[in-house]
Every structure is written in structure tokens, then in C-alpha cells.
């Protein structure tokens, strides 16, 4: 936006301040109504987009087997172990009660474990503890022996000592009401647990499992919202208060940032998207970013108030001087956040969009609502300038003086820090997304330390055909794989049906321990399984281990305290093992853990495109703002290296990072760019005022140094507060962002100025040579162009001189618009009319350009809106010409090589209407005589011969009056040399006291008898049009 628009804008806002207050409040209220539509989605799976291939695999797996929404109750009998009669009775009780939880599908506990044994030749399937309330000590001891001998139970439902145990409750969630289903289950489970603990103080009971995880996503999200919001407000208020010492200023800040947050969240509500544990941070991010905009306005107000008491002037100056930069800063930030749409994780896409909307809301409010407030509500005026020079000046001197060491040192630092990037490892353990402040996390750690693992790799081993799972060869491979998995150190438990089958085989052979192996043939396997399934208790069926057509068997390997890296490493070994030993059953694993294991890898790749596009968009925007390619390129450095440095530093310090890392670059890019924009804009301004690079740097520091420091500080504090989130995805994102932003300020203060001085120094050294060369060229051209008086009297020279004089007299008209009408008459006298508007812009012919013109037709009505743009060139170059067709809204570059064609069927050819330049022809003066038309003027008669062989004419003879040098008549001779057309020009009027324009041109074709009259009216000079009005891309706008 240029300056004049801005003045108008700022003044307009101030004048209509009440309107903007009302509009701002109304907009906030309208968008804010969307808040009522917000709900919260606690599902951990929100991180998986529907198109995520890992999620698709997981969905397919769960459709075939079962979706494991489970609750794990971890038990610890403090003394003497679990297998005491009264404790078993309590477990039996708890098992019964667990069945009463909502949506229960199955309960697996120690007491109802389906134990098989043989009595003679008969196989018996029954609960391990058939009658818990009346169990005897011997029965309990026997049950313990059985339980700790079963591989499928150990490290999952029981620890080898029999002290820790667990119970698993499986749910089938209807999924109709995700917001309430899980919390209801958890609430009831917690009541159940509380009652159990009260009744059995000697038994420790803890809760974990996937419903607890999901619930945790909701709890931590709400926690973040509740605990961080007041902190954030407090910090912001403090910063603003310290910076400006004004309570009113603080209140204004609060209202703008709160309204921005409401707009962002409200938009989410209107879009009908539920909140989740990531988007819950959006309002806090919006507020942090909005503060930066507000601070720029308030800082300006603080400076202006020293000079004037007029509060409206404070607001106006703030808008005028900082409005454009604030707009750019907000837009680049929004672009960065919009780039999150490339993430494969929907919560990040939503976060990006919400924040982008919020930022745009903040921008709107900062440019309208806030200045209106400033103009209305009194802020206490201070008359002393807040001394920023004192702080910033020494820094500027330091950077200038230590320029070279800084350049080398910073470059080294960047390289050293960035080399930490390879140390980053992507770790997405969704269980450990939540830190130890949460009971869930402590209980889960307890479970994994003492019993088993929650992280599971699920292998749905394919048997290749229906009922293929009964195939002994398949089973043998499954058994080997199961045993191989069990032998792996990180694996705590493997659930495999081969264990049951081996045991069944033994049972069917009268419990002969030697027969503890897989059934001998397919038929036996099928029979045993059939018998077993018939005898299983309610809800204990095998559907979650074998798929419906019995073509695949599920093997679940649990790991305790395993990281993403551990799991991926285990699977890599498993794939190797399968490829070598059991290629027929080789398959990639799935499961929630596995999807999370891969999500960061996928997202980093997906976000790469988004980040690059954001970088391109933002850099393009910078180029537009700075209008300087060199500065634009330089700006890339401080925009990109902060993220590289932050990532490297993280690599050295922490190493492990969640999927949050993928979105950080794009997110921070838009934010760090703000500082660069402010810095480079001021630097460029300093240079434009003729300062040396050093002085420009001093000037920049004094102008924006403090503001940059304060806004960066506010942003870092804001993100630092977010980083205290107990949810690792949010925490990592905020920490990395805070780190990146701080490093960006370091780069902008220490590296960028040093870089600018170094680059500009080098260029100034080369400058004198360039100037000299240019001067020499100019002098040379001048010498050639100087007229030589010796030839002044030849007919050719006289002709040229007359034409040049005519040209000279018509120089400097600038621009004009007019209306045109063409009346076409055929030999029979029938008329057709064309009406148009014309726009004309004068160009300097010495640069090889002819004038520019636009014609927009309004009649006949079917071509209304059709427009042409011509940028004329000196012959023999073709003009550049575009045609706009309103019916299809298309702008077409068209060939202008057709000199002789007739304009819309008239007697005027394109050549006649095109811009005529002196250099297009060679001239000869023929004679002087009275001008045609009886005007009483004397005319020079000049012959012009076109230089371009493609011209339709062999020559033109033109009558030019000797008083004003206007053209009165032209005879056109065709290529054969015959007179073809005669043009008569009449109705000259003078404009701007200098330029003559005709009202009427009559072209008579003497060969065909057709004629065309061209009427030109409503000449309007000095309309202020410029090149931008004659831009081909703008033709649609000019045509109406």
C-alpha cells in the first residue's frame, strides 16, 4: 500500500472510530457464537488422518479382529501375594463388578482365566478359580502354580512372583458420542476402584489401559487450558505493563488478544470441528502472537505522546507508520500456520487454520478496533521519551566494530549447532506423551515396571487360505515366531494361540507333559479348537485372535518402557527373522503403537512440502515488500538458520522429539520473519536516505531494536509458558518454537547486520567503475543524437525536422482518457456503430517503446466489455498486444504482426490506429500550401515511406499545418502505388494549453466506396494513470 492510501485509511479509522468499536465487537460476537458449538474429542486417534496408510492398516486389522479399547486394573497384594483366598475372593468380586461398567465386551481376570485340563480322556475347560468367595488355601496355591507357569499370563496378568496382577476389561465403544463415552467409563471405573480400595485397604489398585489414555488426552487438554491461560494472561499483562506503565494499555491489550482468541476458536466452532488436545493450545498461541502486533502500536503511541496531546494523532501515527509492517508480520505468520495444512496429522492442520484465522482477526482488530480505542479512551500521557537509544546504541556499535569476528563466529556457531540435527530421534510413545504429573502416567509406569508392557506390536499372520490356521506347517511357523519373539530381551509378553493349542493337545492326551506340542494334523487342530470354543465362558471367545474365515492369526508382542526406536528395531529384526525362517507368514505389524511409531517419519516428509511452500510464499512476500532481490535473498539466512540452530541444539541437549517437530519450522518461519521484515525495512530506508551501511545499521537499531526485543521477549515468554504443558506434543512444539524465536533474535541482532555491512561494503567498492561506464555511454549517445545543422536544408531533412517538431510539440502529455465511436458505412450507406472507452499512456520513445493504450468496447452489446491492451514498439518490432474476452474472462496475448488487417471491419487498419513514431518512416518534404478544409492555415506536405516491409502502404502523404503542427489530411497509397484511402482530420481542440486533439477522423476508401468515421470525445488529461493501469493481468478489472 502506498503512503497516501495509508493516510486515508488511518484518518478514516479515527474519524469513524465508534463504527470500528461496534464492528470489532460485533465481529467477535458473531464469530464467537461458534464457541457454543465447540465440543472436545478425546480420542488418541485424532492424530491419524483417514488417508494415513498406517491408520488404514490399523482399521483393517481392527475390523478383522477387535478394537482394543481396554481398561487395565493393576493389583498389588502388599503382603503375601495375590493367591490368598480372601484376595482371590476380592478379585472375583471385582471381576463380577467390572462386567457392570458401560459398553463392556469382555473381562479377563485371574479368576476367570480359561484353564484347561484333562480328566481321563475328557478335556475340561473352566475358570481358574471357579468359585472365588469359597476358595480354599490349597486351591489358591494350585491356581498360583498354574498361572505362573502359563507364558500367556506371565508379565501380563501376573508377575512371576505372584505379587502383582492385572485384570483387563475390554469395551466395545459405540462411537456415537466420543465426547462422553470414554469419560463415563473412566468415571465409573474410578468409582469402582474407590469402592474396592475402601473395602480392601490391603490391596493396591491402579488403572491404566487405552480408555485411560484417551481420557488422558481430554484431561491434559483441559488442564492445559485451565492452568496455562491465567499464567499466560499474567505474563502478558506484566510485560505490557512494564513496557508501557499503563493500566489502560494493559486493558486494551487484553481485550484485543482475548477477542482474537475468541475469533479463532469461534471459527473452529462454526466449522464444526471438535477441539482436541492440540487445538486447545490455539487460543494461547493466538494471544501470544497478537500481543506482538499490539505492542508495535502501543510502542508507537508511547513515542508520539511525547510530541502531542492529541490522542487521535497518536492512533493515526501508529497506523500510518506501522500498519503496513504489522499487516505483513501477521500475514507471514498466518502463511506459516496455514502451511500446517500439509501435516498428515489433522490436529495440526486444525491448529494451523485456527491460529491463522485468529491472527487475521488480531490484524483486523489491531488496525481498526485498537486505534479506535486509543482515540476514545484516555491513556495517561508521559512527556519523556522512553530511552531506548541507551540500550541499543552500544549493541549497534558492538555489532559494527566486531563485524568480522561476529560473522565468522556466528557462522561457526550455526554450523556447530546445526550439526546436532542428526542426533534428533523421532520418539512418539503416545503413552509417554503425558509427563509424571499425571496419575495416569505414574500408574502406567508402575504397570510397566512391575508387570508388562502397554506398547504392543500386532502381527496378523496370514495363513494364506480359509481355515488355513489349522495347517500344522503354518502353526509351526507361528510357534517358532512366538518363541523367537519371547526370546527378545525387550519383549515382556507374547499372546499367541499356539500356547493354547499345545496345551489342548496335552489335555487331549490325558495331560501327558510329553504331548505339550502342536497337534499332529489339521483335523486334530480343528477338532481341539472346536471343543475348546464350545466350552469357553461368556465373552471369552477367540474372535479377537482368529479372523472370521480363519485365514489369519493374531500375535501380540508387548514391550515395557519401549521407545519408538526400540519398537522399530525389534520389528526390523522380526522382519529379518520372518524373511529367513517363515517367509509365508511375513507381514508388517500394526497397532496403535506402530501407527505412532511411524507418524513422525511420515509427517516430517509431508511437512517438507508445506514448509518449502511456506518459505516460497513468505520469501515472495518479502520480495514484494522490500522490492529488493538482494535483501530478499539475504533475508533467507536469518529466517532459516534459527530453526536449524534450534533443532541442532535440541539434538545435542534432548535428542528425542515427538511428531511436533515436523510442524515447527513452518510455524516459526512466519513468526521469525517478522523481525527480519522490520529490520530490513528500516535498514533499506536508512540506505535510501544515503547512509553508509554502518549508519544504516545504527539507524535500524535505534528505530526498531527495542520493539523487536520486547516483542520477541513476549513471544518467547508466551511459548515458554506453553512449553510447561504436560502433554509432550504441545510441550515439544512450544519449547522448540521458543528456542527458535530466541535464536532468531540473536541472528537478527548479531548476524544480519554484520552480513549486510559486509555485502554492501563490497558493492560500494565496485560502484565508481559502474558510474563511470554509464556516464561514458550517456555522453556517447548524446554526441550521436546531436543534430547536425549542415544538412538542415535538404528535403529529407526538412521533412524529418517537421515531423520531429510535431513530435516534440506533443511530448509530455502524460496520459489521457477519451471516448471513441466508429461509424462504419458500406458503399450502400448502411451504418454500423462501435463505441468504446480509451485510455492512453505516454512512453518515452527513446527507450524503444511506443505509447500504451487500452480500448474497452461498450457497443455492439454482444462484445461489450471486450478490451485490448497495446504496448507499442518502435518498428520493425511487433507491438505487445493482449485481448480480453469477458464471456470466458480470458486474457490472451495476440499476434500483432498483422499491420494491414482492418480494425473491426472498418476502413482503419491496425497500422493506422497504432502508435506512430518518428522512427517508423523516412520522410521527404514535398511543398507548402493552404491546408485542406479552409481553415486558413498553411500546411507542410510531407511524404512518409514506411521502413517496415510488412506495412500495407508504399507511402503516405500528410498535410501538417505550420502553426500548430497538426495533421489535417493523409493520403494512403497501397503497395502497388495507387491511392487507396484518404483521411480527413477535423475538430482540433487544445488541451492543457498545449496539446491538440481532433474530434473527428473520416477515412474514405476511394477504391471500394466504403467509409468510416471515428469520433473522439471527452478527452481527459492528467488522470493520474500509471503503468500499473496498463498491466495485461489487470484487463479484466478495466473492462466493466
Amino acid at each position: 500500500m502506498d503512503q497516501s492510501t495509508h493516510t486515508g485509511w488511518a484518518a478514516f479509522i479515527i474519524r469513524t472510530r465508534w463504527l470500528w468499536i461496534v464492528l470489532g465487537l460485533a465481529l467477535t460476537a458473531a464469530v464467537g457464537m461458534g464457541l457454543g458449538k465447540l465440543s472436545f474429542n478425546p480420542d488418541a486417534r485424532i492424530f491419524f488422518a483417514e488417508e494415513n496408510p498406517d491408520r488404514i492398516a490399523l482399521d483393517r486389522f481392527e475390523a478383522e479382529f477387535a478394537k482394543d479399547d481396554n481398561l487395565i486394573l493393576v493389583l498389588n497384594a502388599k503382603e503375601g501375594g495375590l493367591f490368598e483366598p480372601e484376595i482371590l475372593a476380592a478379585i472375583g468380586d471385582l471381576t463380577e463388578n467390572a462386567w457392570l461398567l458401560p459398553h463392556v465386551r469382555r473381562v479377563d481376570s485371574l479368576t476367570n482365566f480359561q484353564h484347561t485340563y484333562a480328566i481321563d480322556d475328557e478335556m475340561i475347560v473352566g475358570d481358574l478359580v471357579p468359585d472365588p468367595p469359597n476358595v480354599t488355601a490349597e486351591e489358591a496355591a494350585r491356581a498360583k502354580d498354574i498361572a505362573i507357569s502359563r507364558p500367556e499370563l506371565v508379565h501380563s496378568m501376573i508377575d512371576p512372583t505372584g505379587r502383582y496382577g492385572s485384570m483387563q476389561v475390554m469395551f466395545r465403544l459405540p462411537g456415537k458420542n466420543p465426547e462422553t463415552e470414554v469419560p463415563t467409563i473412566v468415571a465409573e471405573a474410578q468409582t469402582l476402584a474407590a469402592e474396592f480400595r475402601a473395602e480392601h485397604p490391603d490391596i493396591e489398585l491402579r488403572l491404566t489401559g487405552s480408555v485411560m489414555i484417551n481420557n488422558q488426552f481430554a484431561v491434559s487438554g483441559q488442564d492445559d487450558g485451565k492452568s496455562l491461560t491465567p499464567l499466560m494472561f499474567g505474563a502478558i499483562l506484566l510485560i505490557v505493563f512494564i513496557a508501557f506503565r499503563s493500566l489502560v494499555g494493559v486493558l486494551m491489550t487484553v481485550s484485543v488478544i482475548a477477542m482474537s482468541a475468541i475469533i479463532g476458536l469461534g471459527a473452529l466452532g462454526w466449522a464444526g470441528v471438535a477441539l482436541n488436545s492440540v487445538t486447545v493450545l490455539a487460543p494461547l498461541i493466538i494471544m501470544t502472537l497478537a500481543v506482538a502486533s499490539v505492542v508495535h502500536v502501543l510502542a508507537s503511541v508511547r513515542q508520539t505522546m511525547v510530541h502531542t496531546t492529541d490522542r487521535r494523532e497518536w492512533a493515526r501515527v501508529a497506523l500510518d507508520e506501522h500498519g503496513a509492517e504489522i499487516a505483513v508480520a501477521c500475514i507471514t505468520t498466518a502463511i506459516g500456520f496455514l502451511a500446517l495444512n500439509f501435516s498428515i496429522s489433522p490436529p495440526f492442520r486444525q491448529l494451523g487454520n485456527v491460529v491463522a484465522v485468529g491472527i487475521m482477526g488480531a490484524l483486523f482488530l489491531t488496525l481498526t478496533f485498537l486505534p479506535a480505542l486509543i482515540a476514545i479512551i484516555p491513556i495517561k500521557r508521559r512527556e519523556a521519551l522512553a530511552s531506548t537509544d541507551r540500550v541499543m546504541a552500544p549493541l549497534a556499535e558492538f555489532v559494527i566494530g566486531w563485524r568480522k569476528p561476529l560473522l565468522i563466529g556466528m557462522s561457526l556457531l550455526v554450523v556447530v549447532l546445526a550439526s546436532g540435527i542428526p542426533r534428533l530421534s523421532l520418539e512418539d510413545d503416545f503413552i509417554r506423551y503425558f509427563d509424571e504429573r499425571y496419575e495416569f502416567r505414574r500408574d502406567t509406569d508402575y504397570f510397566e515396571r512391575n508387570l508388562g508392557g502397554l506398547n504392543m506390536l500386532e502381527y496378523a499372520l496370514p495363513a494364506g487360505r480359509s481355515d488355513g490356521i489349522n495347517d500344522p506347517a503354518f502353526l509351526a511357523q507361528v510357534k517358532d515366531f512366538t518363541e523367537w519373539l519371547r526370546a527378545q530381551p525387550e519383549v515382556t509378553n507374547v499372546r499367541s494361540l499356539t500356547d493354547v493349542l499345545q496345551r489342548l493337545n496335552m489335555n487331549m492326551h490325558a495331560d501327558d507333559p510329553a504331548m505339550m506340542k502342536l497337534p499332529a494334523d489339521e483335523q486334530a487342530t480343528a477338532q481341539f479348537l472346536f471343543l475348546y470354543e464350545l466350552s469357553l465362558g461368556y465373552g471369552m471367545d477367540l474372535t479377537d485372535q482368529i479372523n472370521i474365515d480363519r485365514s489369519a492369526m493374531r500375535i501380540s508382542a508387548s514391550m515395557a518402557e519401549a521407545t519408538t526406536k526400540d519398537m522399530l528395531a525389534l520389528d526390523a529384526r522380526a522382519q529379518d527373522w520372518m524373511a529367513e525362517n517363515a517367509p509365508a507368514i511375513a507381514i508388517a505389524p500394526t497397532g496403535m503403537s506402530q501407527v505412532f511409531n511411524l507418524i513422525a517419519y511420515r509427517d516430517v516428509r509431508a511437512m517438507l512440502l508445506g514448509t518449502v511452500l511456506a518459505l516460497i510464499a513468505i520469501s515472495a512476500l518479502l520480495l514484494l515488500i522490500l522490492r529488493d532481490v538482494k535483501l530478499g535473498l539475504v533475508s533467507l539466512i536469518p529466517n532459516l538458520i534459527p530453526a536449524a540452530m534450534a533443532f541442532g541444539l535440541w539434538g545435542y541437549g534432548v535428542g528425542a522429539v515427538t511428531l511436533a517437530i515436523a510442524v515447527v519450522i513452518a510455524m516459526t518461519l512466519g513468526i521469525v520473519v517478522d523481525d527480519t521484515v522490520h529490520f530490513l525495512a528500516k535498514y533499506k530506508e536508512g540506505k535510501r536516505q544515503g547512509m553508509t551501511p554502518e549508519d544504516a545499521v545504527r539507524y535500524t537499531f535505534s528505530k526498531v531494536g527495542m520493539a523487536l526485543f520486547v516483542t520477541t521477549f513476549a513471544l518467547v515468554v508466551g511459548f515458554a509458558i506453553l512449553s510447561t504443558s504436560g502433554f509432550a506434543v504441545n510441550g515439544d512444539m512450544a519449547k522448540l518454537t521458543a528456542l527458535t524465536i530466541s535464536l532468531a533474535l540473536v541472528a537478527d541482532f548479531l548476524l544480519l547486520p554484520a552480513l549486510l555491512i559486509t555485502i554492501d561494503r563490497r558493492e560500494t567498492m565496485n560502484a565508481p567503475a559502474t558510474v563511470a561506464a554509464t556516464l561514458a555511454a550517456l555522453i556517447g549517445i548524446g554526441a550521436l543524437a546531436a543534430p547536425s545543422p549542415a544538412h538542415a536544408q535538404s528535403a529529407e531533412a526538412k521533412g524529418l525536422a517537421i515531423v520531429q517538431e510535431a513530435e516534440r510539440r506533443d511530448l509530455g502529455w502524460g496520459d489521457f482518457t477519451n471516448d471513441g465511436e466508429m461509424i462504419l458505412r458500406d458503399a450502400g450507406g448502411n451504418e454500423t456503430r462501435r463505441i468504446w472507452r480509451g485510455m492512453n499512456l505516454e512512453r518515452d520513445a527513446r527507450s524503444g517503446e511506443g505509447d500504451w493504450s487500452v480500448i474497452v468496447f461498450s457497443s455492439p452489446r454482444d462484445i461489450s466489455g471486450t478490451a485490448t491492451l497495446t504496448q507499442a514498439k518502435i518498428e520493425p518490432s511487433d507491438d505487445d498486444q493482449w485481448l480480453y474476452l469477458p464471456a470466458v474472462k480470458r486474457v490472451k496475448r495476440i499476434s500483432s504482426s498483422n499491420r494491414t488487417g482492418k480494425f473491426v471491419g472498418s476502413e482503419f487498419s491496425f497500422e493506422d490506429l497504432g502508435s506512430q513514431e518518428v522512427e517508423d518512416n523516412t520522410y521527404r518534404w514535398l511543398r507548402d500550401e493552404a491546408c485542406p478544409g479552409g481553415t486558413g492555415l498553411t500546411c507542410h506536405v510531407i511524404e512518409g515511406v514506411p521502413k517496415n516491409a510488412r506495412s500495407g502502404y508504399s507511402k503516405r502523404v500528410t498535410w501538417v499545418d505550420a502553426t500548430h503542427f497538426n495533421q489535417h489530411k493523409t493520403d494512403f497509397y497501397n503497395r502497388r502505388g495507387d491511392l487507396e484511402k484518404t483521411l480527413t482530420v477535423t475538430g482540433y481542440q487544445q488541451y492543457l494549453g498545449k496539446y491538440w486533439r481532433p474530434a473527428r477522423l473520416d477515412m474514405q476508401n476511394v477504391q471500394t466506396g466504403k467509409s468510416t468515421t471515428l469520433l473522439q470525445s471527452k478527452y481527459n488529461f492528467g488522470t493520474g494513470m500509471d503503468e500499473s493501469d496498463f498491466n495485461a493481468q489487470r484487463l479484466p478489472r478495466l473492462s466493466r
Binding site: T16, L623, P860, D862, D880, G905, S1028, Q1033
Partner: protein, 420 residues
């Protein structure tokens, strides 16, 4: 009722008259009657023999110069509603706001708010890069009629060295579904597509936002543009929505369009060398579902040349010769008929007072040799009427070809329009 609208719209335009304090006000428009004649009998049950329809398209424009309250911006408000009433196919009877927008101009910056039509592209047969507007599928078979697209567009002039152009950013808050011909119409696929039954692959459905950026301009004799688009694809994929059982076989009877999110990057360019225009367009599109309903990333390109013979045989007439080749990496899985096609054409412009012109094209599939012949001609009658004739023929339509369903739909479309 439609007569009343017609009368209302036909009230004379008073250019220059004060309307809402505007510096310029105009009401103009076009009303037309269209008949489509088919020499052969319909191929599918339900199709009517010939077609008759009426359309009206008024345009209202208000313009204010240098509005102080808007920072000295020039403001133009445009409304261009469109209504077609078809006597047979109720799907063809439709209304659309082709344009309903406010254009603001601040110096080098233009801002457009509202429904608009935006054209991108250089080539003649098909514009790969033209992705902003949805096709009004019931209007013509060439896909050149577009539905208005709600948008916020910010454009800014960019002058860097000798490059002169414009950078634009678009935000599309709302998505327009393609229109499809109903059962009664000819020139449709054998299986009916129910456009109202559309399915979206995004949660926000038609409110799924779209974004686009474009930089276009010229440098010397080269006009070029690049763009990026992210949002719902204007080209739907199709899935079977209704089936019937015929002789124990399940046969689809109705299709449903499915709209999914895509990203597209593209280039379009033209090199103007005297009377020869070299044109090319290319796009890469990600996540588009193909004819097999699978997501496929693909590239497509069109390249061609147009050469104009000016003033043929000493007359005023120009003859333009066009040759273009279209390629699509999806081959037979492409949603477009132009997947490996050569298009040859000739455009004749008489340059007379009546603007008489004609265009003959032959689109030949280089693999199947199926050919679509098309002849368009138009001429103004008097000052305010225009006659337009479009003839189409489908040749070499073998069973597997895209145009097989149209094999008996050779047609002649005659349109008489009145302008005011």
C-alpha cells in the same frame, strides 16, 4: 414469472444516471433461446429427442471512484446472475450467480470479495491450469461454462526488471459442486450421475477451504504463469450409488460424484513470435482420484502452436491454424478425454462489421482413433442479436472409448441471443 423477471431485467440501462451515488452504473444483459437437434434416435431410456431451452444473463455494474472511506480505493460492484430454463431436463433448469462481487483497487493492489469467475490458461482445446471455477456441466460439452466461485482474492502488480505481471492469492471459503445432465438429456454418459448426491472426503464438506496462489505476467515475447492450488478438486471421481440386478448380474444405474482434497502446481506459457503463437500448459496434481477411484499423483500437459494467416487471398479474413497435443500420465485412468490426443483446428475470422467467425476442430485420440469433430460459427444480426451454431459429431467410437455413450449424439446446437 420468468417473463416478469425478463421485463424487470430489460428496463433500459441508464449509463451515467445516479444510482447510490455511483460514478458509473450500467445494467446490460443477454437473453437467448437454444435448440439442440439430434438426427439419430436416443441411445438410452429416458432421453428425449431434441432439446429446447431459454436463458437469461443480466449484468449490473456500479462503480465508485476514489472512495475516501476506503482509503481512496476504486470500488466496483458487479452482479451477473444466470438462469436457464429447459423444457425437458430439470437438471438443466438452473440458476447461478456467475458473478456477485465487489472489486476494490488500491494503487497496485486489487482485492476481490464475492463470487467471481477467474480464467487461467493459454492453450485452446483444454485449460489444464484453469482450476478456480467449477464446470457448469449442464451448459455445454466443452467445459467452458463455469460456475461462480466465492472467493477472497488479493492481487498485486509485480514489476521486476523487464518482467511485468501480477501476483495473486486466493482463498475459497466454499466449494461449488459440478452440475450434471439429467436423465432426459442427450450428450450424457449412459449411467446417470446424480450431482446432488455428492460425497466429500473432507469433514467440512463444501465448506472445506481452498487456497491458491498465482504469479502471471510477461517478459518480452513470453507470457507465463505459475500457480499452486490446495483444496477440493473441481474434478470429481465417481462411485456407484445405485445398482440393479439384470439377469443375475449387478449393474450400476447411478453414479455419485466424490470430491477429495488435492494439491496442484502448474505452469502455463505462450511465446509470441510474429504470427506464430507457441503455447504450453503443464500441471502436477497430487491425491486426485482417477477413473479407478484410486488416489493417483499425475502430470498432464498440453502443448501446441497457432499460426495465423492474415488477410487470406487479398480479403480481410484471417485464418488461424491450430495444432495441439494433450498428454495425461494416467492414460486410460484419466478423468479427462484428453489423455493422449491430437487436436487440429482452423479458425476463420471474416473481420467484417458483423464479426462473423467460425472454428473447426478435430480431436483425435492417438490410440483409439476416436474423433470428435466440432464446428462452431457465429454472426451478429443487426446491432443486438447474435446467431450461434455448433455442430458436433463422434467418429470411431469403439466399445471401450470414452465417447462410446455419445456415439448417436451427433448434434446441432442453434442459439439465438438478444443483447441489450
Amino acid at each position: 414469472m420468468s417473463v416478469a423477471i425478463l421485463l424487470l431485467m430489460a428496463t433500459p440501462a441508464h449509463a451515467g444516471e445516479e444510482v447510490l451515488g455511483a460514478d458509473f452504473a450500467e445494467l446490460r444483459g443477454e437473453a437467448s433461446v437454444e435448440a439442440i437437434l439430434f438426427p439419430e434416435d436416443p441411445l438410452f431410456a429416458g432421453q428425449e429427442h431434441n432439446s429446447l431451452s431459454f436463458a437469461i444473463e443480466p449484468t449490473g455494474i456500479l462503480e465508485w471512484n476514489s472512495v475516501d472511506n476506503l482509503g481512496g480505493a476504486d470500488v466496483t460492484a458487479t452482479v451477473r446472475p444466470f438462469l436457464r430454463v429447459d423444457t425437458q431436463d430439470e437438471e438443466r433448469t438452473h440458476f447461478d450467480l456467475r458473478e456477485a462481487k465487489v472489486d476494490l483497487r488500491f494503487g497496485d493492489t486489487d482485492v476481490t470479495l464475492g463470487s467471481d469467475i477467474v480464467f487461467w490458461g493459454k492453450t485452446e482445446v483444454d485449460q489444464l491450469v484453469d482450476i478456480v471455477n467449477q464446470v457448469d456441466g449442464v451448459e455445454g460439452t466443452d467445459g467452458e461454462d463455469k460456475l461462480g466461485q466465492p472467493m477472497v482474492a488479493v492481487r498485486r502488480i509485480v514489476e521486476v526488471g523487464d518482467f511485468s505481471g501480477q501476483a495473486s492469492a486466493f482463498y475459497f471459503p466454499y466449494f461449488r459442486e459440478r452440475t450434471f445432465l439429467g436423465e432426459e438429456s442427450r450428450l450424457r454418459s449412459g449411467i446417470i450421475v446424480d450431482g446432488d448426491d455428492a460425497r466429500y472426503e473432507t469433514d467440512a464438506e463444501e465448506w472445506t477451504p481452498g487456497f491458491a496462489g498465482r504469479l502471471a505476467g510477461f517478459y518480452g515475447d513470453v507470457d507465463a504463469g505459475v500457480h499452486i492450488f490446495h483444496g477440493l478438486s473441481r474434478d470429481p471421481a465417481f462411485e456407484v450409488s445405485r445398482t440393479t440386478v439384470v439377469g443375475g448380474q449387478v449393474v450400476p444405474t447411478e453414479l455419485r460424484p466424490v470430491y477429495g482434497r488435492i494439491t496442484q502446481i502448474g505452469f502455463d506459457g505462450q511465446y509470441t513470435s510474429g504470427a506464430t503463437l507457441w503455447k504450453a500448459e503443464a500441471i502436477g496434481r497430487f491425491d486426485q482420484r482417477n477413473l479407478d477411484f484410486e488416489r493417483e499423483d499425475y502430470v498432464a500437459a498440453i502443448a501446441g502452436v497457432e499460426y495465423t494467416l492474415f488477410g487470406i487471398s487479398e480479403s480481410n479474413a484471417d485464418l488461424g491454424l491450430i495444432a495441439e497435443y494433450a498428454y495425461d500420465s494416467r492414460g486410460s485412468r484419466a478423468l479427462t478425454p484428453f489423455e493422449n490426443d491430437l487436436v487440429l483446428g482452423a479458425r476463420l475470422g471474416l473481420n467484417d462489421a458483423q464479426d462473423t467467425s467460425a472454428l473447426l476442430t478435430a480431436a483425435v485420440d492417438t490410440e483409439t482413433q476416436e474423433t470428435v469433430l466440432r464446428l462452431e460459427g457465429e454472426r451478429r444480426l443487426g446491432d443486438s442479436f447474435k446467431l450461434e451454431i455448433v455442430g458436433q459429431a463422434f467418429l470411431n467410437t469403439d466399445d471401450a472409448s470414452v465417447t462410446n455413450d455419445l456415439r448417436d449424439d451427433h448434434s446441432l446446437r442453434i442459439t439465438l441471443s438478444a443483447f441489450w
